[in-house]
Symmetry: C2
Subunit: 375 residues, 2 copies
């Protein structure tokens, strides 16, 4: 079998060996319960607080605003439930192309709590229509939670969280930004953005799975989502996943330090891939706004619909090339991507290619050869 080409980094990324190395001591020597009161436990508590401080520093937040969870999905659940249960929100405005962690939590809150749920319009290129958002915010005096992605995981479109934050501020709305695709990929200065909650997952930037970030701006007090012990200052019960927390912080430190060089490298791969596809695959289209406000890590490609393109994901897999039709989190479902379905795009066979610092231009060339053979 040919060497694997892994172009599905929006689903998950390989752990940076340096991140794993930082985690290992907590699997071996430092196993104490971070909530134990003796020094062998307290040392681990200190390690967690050091990780929290590092993450807070990078995001320009206060350490007391940073909470570690089991992943981006739990973080989003905590923020959304908290805004409804404790902060008086009776309406949610979201978009039809959010991650299922947001959409399914919203529909759950709508059906069980009677929350009004509204979907902001999208512009032709898949961007959130900020004018429609403003009109919706102005149209009702209901206390509102706006939950929108910073960047879409399938098509890569970036929404200005600065602009959304300003609108929310003007209209007294709360704002949850799903930053799962941007934490570790874009510098975020939370001190200058009006945002109430952000969420992150380290496995999207070469950290471990099973650990997430929830930022809660200091002006908000919400209850725990998982009830029990007093961990995470009573915000998240359960023995701390110390390896995960250490790994999260280390991965974010490395990503931040390497940001400029990684961004340049990865953006180069995306651009090269787009150019090569245009040259070699007749009729190829690109979803979203690939040359505009877009993740440098994601390229969503529409191949002209045919018997061959319908089998593309399958045949690429046979050739050891990892790419996806949509989000891994919804890949069990067979009804196609809700994101692509929400866009007004031609019938196509959609493939999301997503890149990391470990990818190369040579891999793009190898992929293109395979694509030409297959189509």
């Amino acid at each position: 079998m040919s060497a694997r080409i892994y172009f599905d980094n929006a689903a998950t990324t390989p752990i940076d060996p340096e991140v794993f190395e930082a985690m290992v001591p907590y699997f071996t020597d430092h196993f104490g319960n971070p909530s134990s009161i003796y020094s062998y436990g307290r040392e681990n508590r200190l390690a967690i607080e050091k990780a929290r401080k590092s993450v807070a520093g990078i995001l320009h937040a206060h350490p007391s605003e940073i909470f570690f969870t089991s992943g981006g999905t739990e973080s989003t659940n905590t923020a959304l439930f908290g805004a409804i249960h404790a902060l008086g929100c009776t309406r949610i405005i979201t978009s039809p192309i959010e991650h299922h962690a947001t959409l399914h939590t919203c529909t759950h809150l709508s059906s069980t709590k009677g929350i009004t749920l509204e979907y902001v319009k999208l512009r032709e290129n898949g961007h959130v229509d900020l004018q429609d958002l403003e009109e919706k915010l102005a149209a009702s005096p209901a206390k509102t939670l706006v939950t929108l992605m910073h960047a879409n995981n399938e098509i890569g479109n970036i929404t200005s969280i600065e602009a959304v934050g300003e609108l929310c501020k003007q209209h007294g709305a709360l704002f949850h930004a799903d930053t799962v695709q941007t934490v570790g990929h874009f510098p975020l200065d939370l001190s200058s953005i009006h945002v109430d909650f952000i969420t992150g997952a380290s496995h999207k930037f070469h950290g471990p799975k099973g650990v997430g970030l929830l930022y809660i701006n200091a002006r908000n007090r919400i209850p725990a989502f998982v009830h029990g012990g007093g961990q995470e200052r009573n915000m998240r019960a359960g023995t701390e996943n110390i390896y995960g927390i250490i790994g999260f912080a280390k991965a974010l430190e490395i990503a931040t330090m390497r940001h400029e060089q990684d961004k340049e490298h990865i953006a180069g791969i995306k651009q090269y891939m787009k150019k090569r596809l245009e040259e070699k695959i007749p009729g190829v289209i690109f979803n979203g706004d690939p040359d505009g406000e877009s993740l440098y890590t994601v390229l969503s490609v529409g191949f002209p619909h045919s018997d061959r393109s319908e089998m593309l994901l399958f045949n690429l897999d046979v050739r050891n090339i990892c790419v996806s039709g949509g989000s891994a989190c919804s890949s069990g479902a067979n009804q196609g991507s809700h994101v692509i379905n929400a866009l007004n795009v031609p019938v196509q066979s959609t493939v999301r290619f997503s890149f990391s610092k470990y990818n190369t231009l040579q891999e793009v060339d190898m992929l293109l050869e395979q694509l030409q053979e297959l189509l």
Copy 2:
């Protein structure tokens, strides 16, 4: 500093090197998202399903009844919320000496959902009064959830989950058994016990932190607690913590294989420690039922109250001996152990000693020397 003596294994245990070894490949080579549809992801899904099958086999359950979560606390939350939201329970019977994961979830459900909350009486030795439980079950036609620990994490008392299960069956009640201290320490045959939910955490039996077990008997259908993607058959959204799941299964396999020898070894340490304390420390008492229905891993000791015994935890810590006053999960709180407070015991300085396969009789001797010096 003298070598560390770690006698706090009810708080957390060191990972068995063999468990860590089983996890490592998923940090390095096999990083694919288990929910991705290509083979590199599906291989990891297969590994998770193999782990699930192994856990199910050991517990005499069906794989479809086994769910992996982020820990025992999340498992308990999922079971309790599910029983209230989806299975029609309007009353909860629990005990005053449950873990906070249970107690705080119960009070939350009571205050937000109007659930009636009743506490079963305890007998003098801290055992749940099963006659009182039966009377409470018979006293109301309300659909009831009984949530009781299989074994208490602070005093070690074991409640017969077979007997509680039978009572619940007779009265049409649901039964959640908090088995966090017994999964991996006692053989459980769920096919012969009338129980609806059990919970477990691998870091209590030499597996990793950050992963938990939730068994849901096939007769019950409850909704997800964490909403989003379709992972864990729509029961637990979020990218799977594959290393944790692999580690959970491996730890349970090792614990099951070694059960007889480990039990004999650890029970020997507990008995030896109890005997030595009785010989050497005048006025020492033991909480719970240490020679009866009790964990072989836990010994709760009451030292006669004095200025010296009040400083005991502190001074043991100085001498690099890890023991606890109560549960690590509530060690942030300063009001003493809710478990000890609920028992009718003399004023004492309580220390919980809890043992694992890695402890030795020599460590007990060293501890006794220190205790004699300190008291």
